[in-house]
């Protein structure tokens, strides 16, 4: 079986790209499979600047082809972005095309290579960027979309509906994502599978980072991911500062990720940016538990990373995906308002037995439902079915 993956970036970058890269690497190890990943030379989704050299590289058994970005984000993008966020139903298809062009990363070389590819199936992820929106229709009869979508204005665009409807099939991270897509566009009858994502084994980490951040002897809780409004980070910081002012808990909140909003780093809240994978694992291991405040998740790999290092999680109950994971795993708690948040944090910070119990449940669930063997089997069966 010849399989191609197309993602905007390759490497330890965005959640969906990371998950797809990990899957591609695992598949490439199967002797009968020929797996290739196409990406641009960019590493930053904010600018799409060419950071890497173009050309073919090998990462273990996986072949990665990188192509130069022709155009990245411009001033026009933010105007179009605002326009779409203000109301999708009034945005005409031409404006939508314009938006996806400026959303980037545009790469004619990537487009040509994918069109010339002899792969049986081409998987595009995530849906929101130019390589999926513009290139997938060129190979529609072989294109499988991995939307990695959550409930957001862009998903409702008519162009997205057209893309999904003309694709060969869809791969979802969770049942909640599948339900969302089927509610939003008439794609329920297309071949699809709920695959879920696997995580790489946690590394030993780099304990130096704990000393550098002054966390070596302080208890803390952790939040990993983009630091922005839509991910619920500001809401979490508000909750956390209120909690600290009302109760005597000694813990600090560590936000790991790149901030796109201004948050003051102080005694209560520490921001750790430019953290590599090793440091991230160390920070996760040292935390008492992980909080994911986002209501907009298509899978949330970070929950599984937390369970893998033996800590429980606390999630926003309004996110169907994370709430379902937590309830099925019984690997953490949920909150739907400040009082519940306060009580859940107090319970998790003060009760080590509960923490360990929930973490153990989470780890078992992750191994049982999202172990690599099971994911690879599901993926292979789906490929056989649609190819």
């Amino acid at each position: 079986m010849k399989i191609d993956f197309v993602t905007p970036r390759y490497g330890p970058v965005g959640g969906a790209e990371n998950a797809v890269s990990a899957l591609a690497s695992r598949l490439a190890e199967i002797p009968e499979w020929e797996v290739r990943l196409h990406a641009t030379c960019a590493t930053s989704s904010g600018s799409w600047v060419n950071d890497e050299s173009p050309g073919e590289s090998r990462f273990g058994s996986l072949t990665v082809n990188r192509y130069l970005v022709d155009s990245g984000r411009s001033a026009t993008w933010s105007v179009l972005d605002h326009r779409i966020q203000s109301g999708t139903s009034s945005v005409d298809p031409v404006t939508q095309d314009d938006f996806f062009f400026h959303q980037g990363p545009v790469s004619k070389d990537l487009s040509n290579a994918v069109e010339d590819s002899e792969a049986d199936l081409v998987f595009f992820a995530p849906y929101l960027f130019w390589p999926t929106m513009a290139v997938a229709p060129l190979v529609a009869d072989r294109a499988i979309i991995i939307p990695a979508a959550h409930d957001e204005p862009f998903l409702k665009l008519s162009r997205v509906g057209e893309l999904l409807q003309q694709s060969r099939g869809l791969v979802y991270g969770s049942r909640a994502e599948q339900r969302l897509l089927q509610r939003t566009h008439p794609v329920g009858h297309l071949p699809s599978t709920v695959l879920g994502w696997g995580i790489e084994s946690p590394s030993d980490g780099d304990p130096k980072v704990l000393r550098e951040l002054g966390l070596a002897n302080r208890p803390y809780v952790i939040c990993v991911g983009r630091i922005e409004h839509a991910k619920g980070t500001l809401g979490l910081v508000d909750f956390w500062r209120t909690l600290k002012s009302r109760s005597g808990i000694d813990h600090q909140l560590v936000l790991v990720g790149s901030p796109s909003i201004e948050i003051e780093s102080n005694e209560d809240v520490i921001i750790a940016q430019d953290v590599d994978d090793e440091a991230k694992w160390s920070l996760l291991r040292g935390a008492d538990f992980l909080i994911n405040p986002s209501a907009l998740e298509s899978f949330s790999l970070v929950l599984f990373e937390a369970w893998a290092v033996g800590i429980p999680v606390l999630v926003n109950a309004y996110c169907e995906t994370t709430r379902t994971h937590v309830n099925e795993a019984q690997g953490g708690l949920t909150y739907r308002n400040y009082p519940e948040f306060e009580l859940a944090v107090q319970r998790l910070t003060s009760d080590e037995a509960t923490r360990n119990h929930l973490a153990g449940n989470g780890r078992q669930f992750a191994e049982r439902e999202y172990g690599w063997d099971r994911i690879i089997r599901r993926f292979a069966e789906f490929c056989d079915h649609v190819a």
Binding site: Q178, G235, L296, Y318
Partner: protein
Amino acid sequence: MSDSQSDASYFKEVVAEIEAEARRRSSSGEYPRALLRSLDEEFRRWVPDASLENGVEDTIRAIEAAAYVDPAVPVSSRTPMGRCVKWVVRRLTYFYHRHMAQQITALGIHITRPLRLLDASLKSVHRRLAALEDRLDVDAAVRSELVAGIPTFSSHEQFGEVLGAHFDKVPGRVLIGDLLEVQLLGTLRNEGVDIYGVASTDTSATEAVDVRHENLFDHLGDLQNESLGGFVLCGIPDRGSVNEQLRVFRLLLSKCKTGAAVAVIVVHPETWAAQLGPVAADLLHGRPMHAETWSYLLAREDASEVTVIEASDSSYCLVTANLP
């Protein structure tokens, strides 16, 4: 009690404790109203509407919370002097702010009142509808208890080949639901049918490829009209109420393209009554419907080549037809 059961009850206990204590603290006035409102504002800003399971009520509460205007302007400042000046200004202008705040709050109350009335009216309609459904049929829980004894028939061995030929050259994908027997899906795929399944979650189909784990009605509700090349209806004809059988049939027809092929697998009412006994036969009267009834319903839709094929032991049958 097994380990997993004790785990589950421990988890439920912790969650219930937190929820109960959160409700108690909220109602006791432990949290200042303005504080909760400001915290809620950012927290709920990014919650998708579809996630609000108590949508109308939650939205009305949010409007009410936002409509309350606190006339006590904050006086905190980085310098004591600043705080003092702000406090004096607040004292001097309090009469004005209070007057304005009262009017705005009153406006908010007037806006939310009709919404509350609409919500109450909607809830009343739902209650009446539920009562009406109860009168038409036995309660869903009782029904599932009564039909629990119906075995799943191995229809793939009997009808796999016939269905393979029936769905040859259909104008689109074929849906099979409510899928109870995953082998039939596999058999039809081996026969070359481009088919996918819809199954409620607790079936043997959990791990099968291209199977949606959701309620068949929900799935059909999201599907575009004229998007299917055909369907195999099973499960619901043996287990659903008459209403459900007719509703799912109508929905499936609307989702089929011109020239679609259809099939219904149904247990004979006599077999069904013999297996389940008189209680189920009395309480679940009118179902499963006879093959003649399905043939009649299909004929009314101008379907052609309506055929009934009996299983070898005559316990169930397959009804096939082609839509115009």
